[in-house]
């Protein structure tokens, strides 16, 4: 059967499943819409959290980021950063917010800091990080469709929007949770199956995590040693030791991704869906298990696919492949623009080297490692179709989680809690459906007309969450002394310095012409790159908030009692006093 036909069948089947779930899991109350009724089993929630968490970037781009852009060891920042945050979530965030037992993150910040202003500032921070994040997912949907189903980008995006619209508007968190579970199954199969084949082909060991540390099949050479040598010979740095910029930068990068993870609202609200505090702890653990299956496979895919590409181009030392004889998958992906070659020295052969003057593989997109992996390993067509369905599942599940975070912030925190408290539950449910519909349309619009900053978006979302929301949550839980003035000024200043550093490097709203203060030089703050700056923003937030709190008195009695109550699993949290 033709590849396109199989792909349509596999993707069509997965979409039919998502639709069926949407119809079965309609939401009938605001509690179901915002937190899926609060009765999700911790294992199920762990699976849904894993799908919620692993975005188009994790699925399609991460292996390439590690294997190509960050040249191996440097890419460890993503592996440790995007998993280590779950330890923080499990111990320092999720149990206490679950005990507090409400619907949204800004709601906690508003109550804990006894202030509508704090709530609105938190909503703004939430919308900034979630919207920047969702643009990347919408683009991922459009790109996955256009590459695998040969539709144009717009058709792909519209199809994705219709699917998300259907189950997110009907089912809210309830519909999203059950579809995310299905999407997790699809995406993890799609990621691990090709990896198992490739690991087996290269090393004889079918488990990628072990294959990465094994010898190459039929030789005594370790795979990583071979990759190190091949890269050194072509002028690249050694794979297993090449640091990203500097040790300090790697430290800051990892820290920023970790605390960004623990401050992203669409992840935190998943822990509101389990029945008990101890379920919140447990489901963070299960979530990390499900995430780790992909995250420990990714470095194997990165190294193995990189080695495969190097060896395709230079099968034996000094013997470069004839451009005429390059494999079919190479030609296929040239058409998409992800690969491009140029025979600079006109010898009819392809050279891939670090030196940009002599390098003839002039375009090697990060996404190619995962997308072309099955073809490079000559796997059957149904696996290629599965990868397409997996990429779409990853993008859809994350997009839905983000859209729920955005719409509940609008309908619950802005409408119900701040501007129109007398609204009835039924009206709020309708309002949340409208907000969800508008959020889908808005995200679709941004996906169709990506602003100049779409390229840098996901990294920015982590920086913003780390610098604004994470410190406010930490201080809200671990201190009863931080005041509303302290928290608000901390969030505003933390967000401000992070945006300043990022925009100063990359231009305001990522428009390159709008860079400012070029005299400061690149990465002027101790050599830390803008993507790694979130932890500095967070530190500034903590310092400002604690400093301001010292001179603005004490929080009222009921707030100090709230802080005590969320620390003990049993009992209920008293309703906050009207303010």
């Amino acid at each position: 059967m033709e590849l396109a036909t199989i792909t349509y069948i596999v993707v069509g089947l997965t979409f039919a499943v998502y639709m069926a779930i949407a119809i079965a899991a309609r939401a009938g109350s605001t509690q179901e819409f915002y937190v899926a009724g609060g009765g999700i089993h911790p294992v199920a929630n762990g699976m849904a959290t894993a799908a919620d968490w692993m975005s188009a970037a994790s699925f399609i781009s991460m292996a390439g980021l590690i294997g190509i852009s960050y040249n191996g060891y440097g890419g460890s920042v993503f592996l440790m950063g995007w998993t280590g945050g779950y330890v923080i979530l499990a111990m320092l965030v999720a149990p206490y917010l679950r005990k507090y037992g409400k619907f949204t993150v800004p709601e906690f910040i508003g109550d804990r800091y006894y202030s509508d202003t704090a709530r609105v500032v938190a909503v703004i921070c939430l919308i900034l990080c979630s919207v920047t994040y969702v643009i990347g997912q919408m683009k991922g949907i459009g790109v996955a469709f256009s590459r695998f189903l040969e539709t144009d980008y717009e058709t792909g995006l519209y199809t994705g929007m219709i699917i998300v619209f259907f189950y997110a508007v009907l089912g809210g968190m309830k519909g999203i949770t059950y579809t995310q579970i299905a999407q997790y199954v699809v995406l993890i199969l799609a990621y691990t199956v090709p990896a198992i084949f490739i690991s087996f082909q290269l090393t004889g060991n079918p488990i990628p995590q072990l294959g990465l540390g094994s010898t190459l099949a039929g030789s005594d050479t370790f795979l990583l040693d071979k990759l190190d040598r091949v890269l050194l010979e072509t002028g690249f740095k050694e794979y297993t030791t090449s640091v990203r910029l500097s040790t300090l930068n790697m430290f800051a990068y990892t820290a920023s991704l970790m605390i960004g993870t623990a401050g992203l609202p669409h992840v935190i609200i998943r822990f509101f869906t389990v029945p008990k505090v101890r379920d919140a702890r447990k489901s963070a653990g299960y979530a990390l298990v499900f995430i780790a299956i992909l995250y420990t496979t990714a470095p194997a895919v990165a190294a193995m696919a990189r080695l495969n590409i190097m060896q395709t181009i230079e099968p034996s030392p000094g013997q470069h492949v004839l451009i005429e004889e390059r494999p079919q998958w190479f030609k296929n992906w040239e058409q998409t623009g992800l690969l491009a070659i140029q025979d600079k020295n006109a010898d009819g052969r392809l050279q891939y080297v670090a030196d940009p003057e002599r390098n003839e593989l002039i375009k090697l997109d990060n996404d190619i490692l995962v997308l072309a992996n099955p073809e490079i390993a000559q796997l059957p067509n149904w696996i290629i179709a599965l990868v397409a369905a997996g990429g779409l599942a990853a993008a859809l599940s994350t997009a839905a989680g983000l859209l729920l975070a955005i719409s509940s912030a609008i309908s619950h925190d802005l409408l119900k809690s701040t501007f129109y408290p007398s609204i009835s539950e039924k009206m709020e449910l309708n309002a949340s459906r409208c907000a969800m519909g508008l959020a889908v349309l808005g995200a679709g619009y941004l996906g169709l007309n990506p602003p100049g900053f779409a390229a840098g978006t996901v990294a920015l979302a982590f920086g913003l969450a780390a610098a604004s929301i994470f410190p406010a949550l930490m201080m809200g839980i671990f201190s009863s002394r931080v005041t509303r003035e302290g928290a608000i000024s901390g969030m505003v200043v933390g967000l401000g310095v992070t945006l300043f550093y990022v925009f100063q490097h990359k231009g305001v709203m990522f428009v390159a012409e709008w860079q400012f203060l070029p005299g400061l030089g690149k990465n002027w703050f101790f050599g830390i790159e803008p993507n790694a700056f979130g932890c500095i923003g967070a530190a500034v937030n903590f310092i400002v908030a604690l400093g301001v709190s010292r001179v603005t008195g004490e929080p009222p009695e009921h707030v100090r009692r709230l802080v005590q109550e969320i620390r003990i699993p049993a009992g209920s949290v008293a309703a906050p006093a009207q303010h």
Partner: protein, 88 residues
């Protein structure tokens, strides 16, 4: 549920906090320590085809993270029972 006295609540929180501090130290050591700060030294040790520092950064830290969370789950369940604050 059983109400905790103020002293009991303090004691519960102190025990929870000490547990978190111990586990977060391990969290720091395996990732920022073994994976970043001491990576060159650990890379001198070879385990199979892996340099040890590289292994911590790309595999080991993640496995330890999982262990830490489940240890915390079990230890906290015990603490909750001891203080009678588990939810029914």
């Amino acid at each position: 549920m059983s109400e905790l006295s103020e002293a009991q609540a303090k004691e519960y929180w102190k025990r929870n906090r000490n547990l978190m501090i111990r586990l977060m130290i391990i969290w720091f050591v395996v990732s920022f320590g073994c994976g970043i700060l001491w990576v060159d030294t650990l890379n001198l040790i070879q385990v199979g085809g892996y340099k040890l520092g590289f292994w911590f950064a790309q595999q080991g830290a993640i496995f330890v993270f999982i262990g830490l969370i489940f240890y915390y789950v079990v230890a906290m369940a015990r603490l909750d029972r001891e203080f009678g604050v588990e939810e029914d």
